[in-house]
Amino acid sequence: MTTKVDVQGLRAKSRLGIRVAVWLGILTVIEYFIAVEVTNPLVWLLPFVAAKGWLIMRYFMHVDALFEGGH
Amino acid sequence: MNDSGGYKRDAIRVGLLWLALVVVLEVVWFSVEILPRQYAEEARIIDDAFNLLTILGIPVFSFVVAMLIYAALRFRSGGDASQDGPPIKTSTPVVVTWLVVTTALAVFILINPGLVGLAELRANPDADLVIEVEGQRWQWVATYPNGAEVRDELVLPVDTRIKFEVTSVDILHSFWVPGFRTKIDAVPGLTTSVYATPTELGSFAEDSALRLQCAELCGIGHARMVMPVRVVEKAEFQAWMADQLTAEAPAAEGRG
């Protein structure tokens, strides 16, 4: 029932995830302040949406696993 | 029959069949009158486009039909299912020719009648007469420049460029006079416009193409949401329009 815990792998992966989350947080805050300060922010916000989307798909959703076989 | 001689013979025969079909169908098309009578300048533009598309469509249609007739007559196998045809997998010249011809045709019709027709229809934004038309379930109300509101008949002067400003009070309707070939939806909250320049006198009583018909499904009364159209001489129109105002006044009082 209990399987061996791969502590090192887990720690490395967790750290990566938290780093990505911090980046997402930073981007969100910058995005927010641009939106509050700039009058017509549409063009300015698009890169932030794209960057956040890419981070989530790449690191959280593992989109590249789609193109590999197996686990 | 597999040799190139057979191939050529088949090609020539199917080509002749195609040609014959094209000639017959084009002759038929030019000798029958399918489109309704033109009562407006816009009808001419639209009918020209219709005719041109048909003239170009007949060869395309005939090609398929010629191929089908020829294949049905000539390539029928008497043998069993194990007898295979020649293993022609593809042919670059045929594919390229096909692509070039279909693309050329698509580009041609896009330019003429497509863009040309569009330009002609939009050539002139001015109008000599503006009539507001309002759709409601299930009747049309036309308001003339002098303020007359008319519900029972749309009377229009001949040889006048008329702009109809169309809207709706409830749901979607569509303004369509088949004799003019013009159509635009009546959209609540929006004023759309369409032009017609009547060129011939006539009335609904003589020709059902002269009717303002609702063309957008609007419920129970949709089919009968019709207003008769009558095209009259300019002088007669002015007199009629003035009459409407005097005729309307007592009626409005009575209603109020």
């Binding site: - | 398929v64 045809g85 020649p86 004799g179 159509k183």
Partner: protein
């Protein structure tokens, strides 16, 4: 039978519970839009759980072992069976039934339209009948071929034992009966009279049956999405060794392309209907001018789905017909790669042509020219399909069989459908023709003449594979001619009345159009009678027909290398694909390595 009874009971219980709870919470009547909505949702869940989702699937979510249904024989067809062949047959029988029902409604309409004036349908009933006919037939065209042959044939043709997600597959079929029940019970709430297009504001202000239409069609959309997702995944991940993309049978390509399209854009139909539902039930104002809403928004969202939907209908039909033509002409499919490129060209362009339905809608005039150009451009990839079909017939050894006769009728009809489509893509002519019988005739040529002909031709062509018996060939040919001639007699006159000023969706018309309408009505009854021959032939042959050879056409694709009907899990051995499926006439060429069990040891 038991699961079906359970499903009906749980469905009803769910409906009543949903409606009752709504009334208990917010008051109002159990027949108002909100109560019906929640009733339908709970009823749908009850139905699905009852038919087998609970037993075969949902138990696992709670850590319990699944208990798949063990029914055998004909009872399999009434259960949550995950065999793709069972599901294919379920779809086929269901949608041919819906087709006949929708056709019957058309005959009632033609009875009313035989003479000007009101005969026996009042305009309101007529509009409702016309709307019902429309949506039933649209559903048949969207899901008929993809559901029946897509499910039955795709795994067989690519050498797989089943679809990638068999339970999702069973669910996408069992979502269909609630759709039918929802639509057909709409008259209880006053039915819906806004056509299958459900344009607001009419669809916001009309009677409550419209809500059932909305819920049923959203459910149908969910079924299409799940079905499409399954076909795409199956083709992408489950092909037998050697079945490269370049060796896929053309029907698989067609089903794959149509599924990609269906998977993505169907959501726009769902979204547009959800917005109508919100306008009706939640007091929003998306399409009502009073609150600043915009009726044209619906048309954009709706046609963004509904124009490509035409290609969801017709791409699988292309696939079916090219299969039939290739096998029965006994020649390689002409320009195979070009045809596949044509399919993808159609998929790509189809999402960029929607506004040609709106040239007279009052939308911005700057959109007219681009949409005209893109719409006319789609004739180029469509033309490549004709190139493939005609090129394959050229110098073939045509086997004179019913499916091929129907293929000829199909090519003829679809040519007319395609050419008349140009008149509607051209802004000038469309201004006159939009919303007339010209449009009605045009789309019947593409959808009936294109898709339904393929559904019928396919039901003959794969009949021996599905049933193990042969249909009656001569009766089949008589029907093929009857159908083609009858169909053309009905719809050719309708082009004329449309051009001359008869608008569509009307119960009454000016005296001027009496002649052609009477003609079309008589022809419609002749056409309708022909379907007795069709149904009779297939029903009788399925029970009493002579046993069919496993491969009566001498065809090369994988499904024909198996016994008829194919056994459960299809392939006794993993097939190995070694060549192209259509290399007729090339000496020594093979599609599949022989599937004999020699050397095949139980591992």
């Amino acid at each position: 039978m038991r699961p079906l009874i359970r499903a009906v009971v749980l469905g009803l219980v769910g409906y009543v519970a949903g409606a009752w709870l709504t009334v208990a919470v917010r008051g109002g009547s159990p027949s108002d839009d909100v109560a019906v909505t929640f009733g339908f949702i709970l009823g749908l869940i009850g139905w699905l759980m009852g038919i087998g989702v609970w037993n075969a699937w949902a138990r696992e979510w709670f850590g319990l072992p699944a208990k798949p249904d063990q029914a055998t024989g004909w009872q399999r067809y009434l259960t949550f069976n995950t065999d793709h062949k069972v599901i294919g047959v379920q779809y086929l029988v269901t949608f041919i039934t819906v087709l006949l029902l929708g056709g019957f409604m058309a005959l009632i309409m033609r009875w009313e339209l035989a003479n000007p004036g009101q005969d026996f349908l009042d305009p309101d009933t007529y509009n409702k009948l016309m709307s019902m006919h429309g949506i039933l037939m649209i559903a048949t065209a969207v899901a008929g071929i993809l559901g029946a042959f897509g499910n039955y044939l795709v795994p067989l043709m690519i050498g797989a034992r089943d679809m990638a997600f068999p339970r999702v597959n069973a669910m996408s079929f069992w979502l269909i009966p609630p759709v039918a029940i929802g639509l057909l019970s709409a008259p209880l709430l006053g039915s819906f009279d806004s056509g299958w297009t459900a344009y607001p504001p009419l669809s916001v202000v009309n009677e409550g049956g419209q809500v059932l239409f909305i819920l049923a069609v959203i459910t149908f959309g969910l079924s299409s999405i799940l079905g499409g997702l399954n076909i795409v995944t199956t083709v992408a991940t489950m092909r037998a060794p050697g079945m490269s993309w370049g060796r896929l049978p053309i029907f698989v390509w067609a089903a794959f392309a149509a599924s990609v399209l269906s998977l993505l854009i169907t959501q726009f139909f769902a979204a547009s209907l959800i917005l109508i539902l919100l306008d009706r039930a939640a007091g929003t104002t998306f399409f009502l001018a009073e609150g600043g809403g915009d009726a044209l928004l619906y048309q954009h969202l709706f046609w963004f789905y509904s124009h490509p939907a035409v290609y969801i209908m017709v791409l699988p039909a292309f696939g079916v017909m090219l299969e039939i033509i290739t096998h029965l002409a006994r020649k390689p499919l002409f320009a195979y790669k070009v045809v596949v490129a044509g399919f993808w060209g159609i998929v790509g362009l189809s999402v960029a042509v929607w506004a040609h339905h709106m040239f007279t809608s009052g939308m911005a005039e700057s959109l007219h020219a681009p949409f005209m150009a893109l719409t006319e451009a789609i004739s180029i990839p469509t033309g490549l399909v004709f190139l493939g079909a005609l090129g394959t017939l050229w110098q073939g050894r045509l086997q004179s069989k019913t499916p091929l006769w129907l293929a000829f009728g199909w090519l003829f009809n679809f040519t007319i459908g395609g050419i008349t489509g140009i008149y509607l893509a051209d802004v000038a002519t469309d201004i006159h023709l939009q919303d007339t019988y010209f449009v009605v005739a045009h789309f019947h040529y593409t959808i009936v003449g294109g898709t339904i002909f393929a559904l019928i031709a396919g039901s003959y062509f794969w009949f021996p594979k599905i049933t193990g018996r042969m249909y009656h060939e001569r009766l089949g040919k008589i029907f093929a001619v009857w159908l083609t001639v009858g169909f053309n007699l009905v719809f050719i006159p309708l082009f004329w009345v449309g051009i001359n000023g008869m608008n569509r969706r009307i119960a009454d018309y000016p005296e001027f159009f009496a002649g052609p309408n009477a003609f079309a009505s008589v022809a419609a009854y002749i056409l309708g009678a022909g379907f007795l021959l069709y149904a009779g032939n297939l029903l009788w042959s399925a029970r009493r027909g002579p046993a069919a050879d496993p491969n009566p056409w001498g065809a090369r694709t994988l499904e024909w290398q198996l016994p008829s009907p194919p056994p459960e899990h299809n392939f006794p051995l993993l097939p190995e694909v070694v060549g192209h499926p259509y290399d007729y006439g090339i000496p020594g060429s093979v599609h599949v390595a022989p599937m004999t069990p020699e050397g095949g040891e139980e591992a």
